[in-house]
């Protein structure tokens, strides 16, 4: 019994310490972000790895999610005789929730894990130490460009996801099932508000981008510098990234959509 309480206490202290380290890390990161924007090739390289290499998985997943939304949405709506609302249902689901959230989950497992792996490997093979000894700050040279690349790539990827998904829903609704094209589109435009839905969705994905990338670079930076440590850090990035995105989604939804 006492042992269990002690273990809970230790776990809590560990978690607080980790949070403190992560906070200090992000402050150092922001402090050393100048080089990222002074030397764009660094940022572009990481945008390639975080953004360009994620496009395929984002487009394919977005298309499938949109197709499924089209089918399920139609099936549910036609029970109430309101299948004309399909466009609005598909667009709102994607813009407000599925686009930002699913894109962030995919981003965590595709780009986030790759970032953790790259940083962890550089640490395990002393490349970060070597850089530091060569008087090049590894946070400024390696970590900060990755962080900013993630923050920039995430909203763009989420927007691509939503756009492709909406086209997928349109394909099922209009082309396959035969909902009227004009009805589908105008109903969607009526239902979707630019500020409340589109802009808030982008805000969400931006925040998810910060969270996921922060977790990814911190896990890589603080991993145990062994093969085992790196693989454990990659797992943590995906698990913590997913949990943090879902939790943050709840909080953000409460503030952005319901809070008013």
């Amino acid at each position: 019994m006492i042992e269990a309480v002690a273990r809970l206490g230790r776990a809590t202290i560990d978690a607080v310490v980790q949070l403190g380290l992560a906070a200090r890390f992000v402050i150092a990161l922001l402090h050393h972000s100048g080089m990222t924007f002074r030397r764009l090739p660094l940022l572009i390289r990481d945008l390639y790895f975080a953004g360009v290499l994620s496009i395929l998985i984002i487009v394919v997943s977005g298309a499938f999610v949109g197709l499924v939304l089209g089918l399920q949405g139609y099936d549910t709506l036609q029970r109430f005789g309101s299948e004309t609302a399909l466009g609005g249902v598909v667009a709102l689901s994607l813009l407000r929730e599925l686009g930002p959230v699913v894109a962030a989950l995919l981003f965590a497992s595709r780009a986030g894990s790759a970032m953790t792996a790259e940083i962890g490997l550089m640490k395990a093979t002393e490349q970060l130490d070597a850089m530091d000894v060569m008087a090049v700050n590894p946070i400024a040279r390696v970590i900060a460009p990755k962080f900013w690349a993630g923050v920039i790539a995430m909203p763009l990827l989420a927007a691509i996801f939503s756009a492709v998904g909406i086209l997928g829903g349109w394909f099922i609704g209009v082309v396959v099932i035969g909902v009227d094209h004009g009805t589908f589109w105008s109903q969607m435009q009526n239902a979707v508000d630019f500020e409340e839905d589109v802009r808030n969705g982008v805000v969400k994905s931006l925040i998810f981008g910060v969270i996921v990338t922060w977790i990814a670079v911190f896990q890589g930076w603080s991993c145990t510098p062994t093969a085992e440590g790196v693989s454990r850090a990659i797992t943590k990035t995906v698990v913590f990234g997913a949990l943090a995105v879902l939790a943050a989604d709840f909080v953000l939804t409460a503030f952005l959509f319901i809070g008013r």
Binding site: E126, A130, M131, V133, M134, A135, V136
Partner: protein, 271 residues
């Protein structure tokens, strides 16, 4: 070799205690390197040799005592001062620590690109010269994954001397090398040190190779310097630990057995 000792002091540690967190690694270290010297720090694994190097690069602050490298007092230096100092130091890491996303040429060019604004043709010439010095000019466009262990070590050495450092640090430069690569690295350490007029510190547990190469040896055991002297003095040292280490005997002050209760007791427990 002996006349070098009288020359300018490059690095000195006096009465240094250091460690990580609450764990003390080094106790009361006194250590000096002079210009032109190649100094070896020897000792078993986990004796604190690498920690000594980290003190000299300013990656680790001493708990107490003074660390002075190239005229900079590291125990009180600011981050900017430490970074400025590091530009004058070259370091070779255990397995080279080459950047895996850059090829050989770009690895050697890295310090030049980061710290100088030299025009591209000049960088090219400098890199090729450094690579020539380690005999790998022909490998300039190879990827780091295509290099053997010994070649990687030599490329890393070329990178370490890219900015003509005044102090070169080597962390286990001989570990895991075949005899030919080992001899090559040993020769390079000596030759580059003399050519650059620098000072070198070699952390190693390779006795034969380093005693043939260096001017002075420090022996570290459990965080303390237990002996120091020229290679000849070390070969004839009376300290039992040094004798065990130099001759490679299994048992001695460094015991073969991990501390444990007597075997008979342990066997009886099972009954």
């Amino acid at each position: 070799m002996a006349q070098c000792v009288t020359e300018r002091l490059v690095a000195s540690l006096s009465g240094v205690d250091a460690g990580y967190g609450t764990r003390q690694i080094l106790h009361g270290i006194d250590f000096t390197v002079h210009r032109g010297q190649v100094v070896a720090i020897m000792g078993g694994s986990g004796s604190g040799k690498t920690t000594l190097l980290r003190l000299m690069t300013g990656q680790l602050r001493p708990w107490s005592g003074a660390v002075e490298v190239l005229g900079v007092r590291l125990e009180q230096a600011s981050e900017a001062q430490r970074y400025a100092l590091r530009r004058r130091i070259g370091m070779l890491f255990q397995f080279g620590a080459l950047f895996t996303d850059l090829d050989v040429f770009e690895n050697v060019a890295f310090p030049l690109r980061e710290h100088t604004r030299l025009p591209e043709p000049l960088i090219r010439d400098l890199v090729l010269l450094k690579l020539e010095a380690v005999g790998l000019r022909g490998a300039a466009r190879l990827r780091t994954s295509e290099l053997s262990g010994g070649m990687a070590r030599r490329v890393a050495l070329a990178r370490a001397i890219a900015l003509d450092p005044e102090l070169i640090l080597y962390d286990e430069p001989f570990a895991g090398l075949d005899p030919i690569s080992l001899a090559t690295i040993g020769t390079l350490i000596r030759r580059l040190n003399d050519a650059l007029g620098a000072a070198s510190v070699v952390v190693t547990h390779d006795v034969v190779e380093s005693l043939a190469l260096v001017d002075y040896v420090y022996f570290v055991s459990r965080g303390r310097i237990v002996a120091h002297g020229t290679p000849d003095e070390i070969r004839n040292a009376s300290d039992p630990y040094v004798r065990q280490f130099v001759r490679g005997e299994i048992d001695g002050p460094a015991p073969f057995h991990y501390p444990a209760p007597p075997l008979a007791e342990a066997l009886m427990e099972g009954q």
